[in-house]
Amino acid sequence: MIEFINFYLVPGFAIGSVYALGAVGISMIFGILRFAHFAHGDLMTVGVYGVFAATVVFPVNPFLLVPVGMALAIFAALFVDKVFYQPLRKLPTIYTVISSFGVALIFRSLIQIIGGSENRVFGSGIRPPLILFDTFRLSSLHVQAVTTTAVIAVVLHIFLSKSMTGRSMRAVADDPELAQISGLDTEKVVRWTWIIGAALAAIAGVFAGLDTSAHPNLGWNLLLPMFAAAILGGIGKPMGAMAGGFIIGLAEELSSYHWIGESALISPSYKTAVAFVIMIALLIFKPQGLFKGRLL
């Protein structure tokens, strides 16, 4: 049981919080701009490298420099939206999807040209775990990741349900045509979508980078499970995406627990497949996602 909590449940929540923060952006972009944003993982990487560049200039705790990464990611997102995505907005979504794939290549190659492609570690040495009641071994980073994600979830929820911008965003995600007819400022909504999506992606990227190491493929490698999380939560439902992220994270980790007998239920090599099987099953049986997202 202790083993289950320490090595399956808690890591599941930790990786889940990375997926959750990344999936929020994917879900909102999918809901509001109506395309699968393939550059979202690389947007995470952009944020991580922003933080990394800042730590070189100001050698303080990387957590204090996360705003730098967020700012860089937001700038990058708004820039590519303006230059690459906006001209394609009236065309079928496949154009924007392909364009975002190209943007992913652009982000990654720029990071590699400027930052080099080596692994970079934020801090040396292992972080001794927090030991509670002599049994629970928690990595302090995981605790930080999960609590930060929880706080963000609450703030995001308040923003989306109470503020004018938040409500407008949900309205556009619900029905873009009606939002236009209602005279909502869709461009402003689009802007905020990018700002929130990119900022959260940067935070997610930093957690992933701190947990292991930062490298140019960091975000790209996380992209597919984040998509699965966004779909699971229902398109255009940021809170659903959060839940979806945790579900995918937990499913990946828990699927290899020895539920029956001695050996892993599903070989850990198939972790990623578990996420997709869940996603596909959900798409077939409950296409709006768990939280009634919009049907495209």
Binding site: F7, P11, S124, I126, R127, P128, R137, T212, P216, T272
Partner: protein, 400 residues
């Protein structure tokens, strides 16, 4: 746009003619620069560049300079074939150093280099499948096949008195090759593998794999993976979780990055196997000193030695032939790499060039070994045992 394209094209071609004068010789270097192993590439590329730089500083290649021409496989067979075609047909290189991954190396060899009759020397491809290629004596490598390191590692572990281990290996040609050989050899020699798990690259958490590996009370964890990817994460997460205290790794894990990542303290009792050179080989020290002087560190990264040596050997072979004649490269490579002959080592281009011009036979013994090719173009090599010493590694023993 058309105008622009034409202009760029013309400018590029002009630039190329400006760079390569008639006397210069292109050296083909095929690497998996972008793609899945991009994060390992920079020091490896530096190693190749260092060799070219030293050659040019010490008299150049043939009658001019050596020019490194890179092909990027993008880490895929398809990209490897495309890049190889360009090296062979557009750049017209006489000899190709590379590629790094076994998959890309074999695909490029099968589809391009063997049909075109170009010699290929891989510094790192360890797949046993390369031994059996019908390659017309064109495909070489300077690392021992996976089978070899796996067997030696098994001996090493038993010699330490470790009778029960858990094994995890990365699910690619490198990990599976060494991992499976190790398990077979270890069991055959009386060791007990209490748990084993193949793992996927690029994941962020390996804690669940680790939890299952702890079952059975292994004395140590054998990790066949790269420090820059899953290997480093596994050691770190195992140490953080207090699951294992002793780690045994291969050359992929024996990387300064690992020490930087988890700290030397954790690795006190750990040891690593890595291809090395026989006896007290000063060549490695010389190379590492030159490398660190040039690039400010990183000489200890995986495959730096082998890549430098392969690039150096490539140029020695070209120098030996005396022209860019592709058909003579294979024999020349065997000549300059294998005994007998006057010994030359890393950085000794001037000496080698002088000897070759006098028609003397030379024998390059590199930082990573002596490189005596067998009939298949493989080397047997030596495997060294390394332990952590400060923020670097120290070789304590050599197993043949």
């Amino acid at each position: 746009m058309r105008k622009l394209t034409t202009m760029i094209a013309t400018a590029a071609l002009l630039a190329s003619t400006a760079l390569v004068s008639a006397a210069d010789t292109k050296v083909g270097i095929l690497m998996d620069i972008t793609g899945p192993i991009a994060n390992f590439i920079p020091p490896i590329q530096n190693a190749a560049n260092l060799a070219v730089k030293q050659v040019n500083a010490q008299g150049g290649l043939l009658d001019g300079s050596a020019i490194a021409v890179y092909g990027d496989t993008t880490g895929t067979s398809q990209g490897a074939v495309d890049a190889a075609q360009k090296l062979v047909n557009i750049e017209n290189v006489p000899f190709v150093m590379g590629a790094l991954m076994s998959g890309t190396t074999i695909a490029a060899a099968e589809a391009v280099f063997i049909p075109a009759g170009v010699v290929q020397l891989s510094p790192t491809a360890t797949s046993p499948a390369m031994t059996d290629l019908k390659d017309n004596d064109l495909v070489y490598r300077i690392v021992p096949s996976d089978n070899y390191q796996g067997e030696i590692l098994a001996k090493m572990v038993l010699a330490e008195g470790i009778k029960k281990v858990a094994v995890t290996f990365v699910n690619n040609d490198y990990g599976v090759g060494i991992g499976n050989t190790f398990i077979d050899a270890y069991k055959a020699a009386g060791g007990e593998v209490v748990a084993q798990a193949k793992h996927e690259e690029k994941k962020d958490s390996y804690r669940s794999e680790l939890a299952s590996l702890t079952k059975g009370g292994a004395e140590a964890l054998v990790v066949v993976a790269y420090a820059g990817d899953s290997g480093g994460k596994i050691v770190k997460q195992a140490a953080e979780g207090g699951l294992f205290s002793r780690f045994i790794g291969t050359d992929g894990l024996r990387d300064d990055l690992l020490i930087k990542n988890v700290g030397a303290e954790i690795l006190k009792t750990s040891f690593f196997s890595s291809p090395t050179s026989p006896g007290d080989n000063p060549a490695q020290g010389i190379l590492h000193k030159a490398f660190n002087a040039e690039y400010g560190g990183g000489a200890d990264k995986a495959f730096v030695d082998q890549t430098y040596d392969a690039t150096f050997l490539t140029m020695l072979a070209i120098e030996k032939v005396g022209s860019a004649d592709r058909s003579k490269m294979a024999i020349a490579l065997r000549d300059v790499a294998t005994a007998p002959g006057i010994k030359v080592g890393p950085g000794e281009w001037k000496k080698a060039k002088a000897l070759l011009s006098e028609g003397k036979d030379i024998d390059y013994d590199g930082a990573g070994g002596a490189y005596e090719f067998d009939a298949n173009g493989d080397v047997s090599g030596f495997i060294g045992k390394f332990v952590v010493d400060g923020d670097s590694y120290k070789q304590t023993e050599i197993v043949e």
